[in-house]
Symmetry: C2
Subunit: 328 residues, 2 copies
């Protein structure tokens, strides 16, 4: 009991610091979410009434498209509008998440020292499907923390990563002439989910052709809420096109607002978040039970001997859990 | 009752054709797995005693590394050893899965007309985390179908896609000089999971440097079962290095066999497959219940009004389900 009370007061103290705008407290709570800490659910309950004000921008595209540079320049431009920014890097190839290898972070240093910018990378290895859910919770937390804009950078090739980017209010797809043609982007599902397209490194050969390809494919695609995605040429490293990007991002948010699309969007996101949390909660409860783990190990032997399919084994485990619930 | 009996006999007839080696029956069952058909679990139970003989090879790497060309050449080389091959393309940018756009498939035509090669692409869009599980089930099915070698091609940037490639007996990572340096590969998690590394398009500049970088990073990495991953230069489009790849793939399988590592590997895979199937089965059962869907919609309103966190909502749903189980 003492330790439980102790934990409770740690959460309360943390919450107090969090609501007072303490960045270290915010970072600590994110770690608790990442580590599935028992207290993180309580904390999320405590802050949830503050969620719902931030503009969430998902940025995705193939590795090497220059997503991080665009994130950096966008963040700087948004800061000039006196808005605060949080950056969540889910992309394992991003300098925001890859550590200080080869000095990648050096050019970001202006962001790192600005207290109006909060940068966080999410560990992607070994997260086994829980990544999308955790990213959502961290977004919620940073929203509650009072950040005006949350930028989520993912690498637009994996399925989970596309889903994360798409769960933002505004999804920006970054492509480059040499990252393959528009057909590749289409095959990878990038042409279906973007609200805005940036053709980065547009001083290179093939940029105009890529813009044309994207525009052609966007004409063929079924419209997303009646919005026509603009295609913008950028050379982010020199800051070219960044203002146009910011303008279009703001226009997209305005469009969502004017057409009352934010409500439905939030509803869909919350539905999916709750469903995923139910799954997680069930899984935790199930595998906490010793006898079910024992049953699992016995069934694995049956499956390995070819006497049982994994599907049949899963059926028996669920049935056993339901029997336990009835008893308990 | 009639329709149920009717369904049962369809499954039986399909199973009979499947066990007789009918490719169309195999393809049809794969579609049933992909569509979560109610019969697919029965069918998997029916064939599971045949699973466990195929050598599963996962191939991954960044888009544009030439994975599909390597898959094509590997498949052809393996066919020369008189083994049958199945190819599963999870990579949305692969010509195996992207349809006949731009004639990508034309150069694969030798494979498409060989009855000893079975090619299947897995739909990646909208699979919402179920992709890894379904890929495993399709592997099991093709294994039961009698294929000697199963090649699974994924794009090595997404988390789920890396996990799928890693779940094979032998994981081959394909890199190219221009796909960024070894540091990028390391950050993307590719340096941790490979059993064999191919530096493809090795006639291009920077190939030797990349080989050196990979070898250096492999020396730093913690050994996977004591196996030292070879790094092989290939120019797959011209067939250069493909024989060396096949040789090393066979050597790796031999190594796993000699050191009794296959048993533990299979056990781990079956454990993870059962756990994922339990989740899926739970989710299907839960959201089949009308009143829980009703509760969900009510809770979403509470969450949107800031009166409840998604975590608290998920707790109430699970509690409600457990109460229902007790009653039922």
């Amino acid at each position: 009991m003492v330790s439980k009370a102790g934990r409770g007061s740690i959460s309360e103290a943390l919450l107090k610091r969090f609501t007072a705008g303490d960045r270290a407290a915010c970072a600590r709570i994110i770690s608790m979410i990442e580590n599935d800490s028992a207290n993180s659910a309580d904390i999320m309950s405590g802050v949830y009434s503050r969620v719902g004000r931030a503009h969430r921008i998902g940025i995705t595209g193939p590795p090497g498209a220059g997503k991080s540079t665009i994130v950096e320049k966008l963040a700087a431009a948004i800061r000039k509008e006196d808005k605060t920014v949080a950056i969540i890097a889910v992309d394992p190839t991003s300098p925001f998440s890859g550590g200080a290898i080869l000095g990648d972070r050096i050019r970001m240093s202006s962001l790192f020292t600005d207290p109006g910018v909060f940068i966080r990378s999410m560990a992607t290895r070994g997260s086994l499907g829980g990544l999308a859910l955790k990213t959502k919770e961290v977004c919620d937390l940073l929203d509650a923390f009072g950040k005006d804009v949350i930028i989520i950078e993912t690498v637009g090739v994996g399925q989970a990563e596309l889903d994360v980017a798409q769960a933002a209010h505004t999804t920006l797809i970054v492509l480059v002439p040499e990252s393959g043609d528009g057909i590749q982007a289409m095959k990878a599902g990038l042409m279906e989910i973007g609200d805005i397209y940036a053709v980065n490194k547009s001083d290179r050969e093939g940029a105009d052709r890529l813009v044309g390809e994207i525009e052609m494919m966007l004409e063929m695609r079924s419209q997303k809420n009646g919005w026509s995605p603009p295609v913008i040429k950028t050379t982010a490293i020199e800051g070219i096109g960044v203002d146009a990007l910011v303008e279009n991002i703001n226009q997209h948010l305005g469009y969502l607002n004017r057409n009352n699309l934010l409500q439905g969007f939030m509803e869909e996101n919350i539905r999916s978040e709750i469903k995923q949390l139910v799954q997680q909660r069930f899984s935790n409860a199930l595998w906490d039970a010793q006898n079910l783990n024992h049953l699992l190990e016995n069934l694995i032997i049956e499956v390995m001997n070819g006497r049982l399919s994994p599907g049949e084994a899963s059926k028996r485990i669920l049935e056993c859990w339901i029997r336990e619930c009835k008893k308990g």
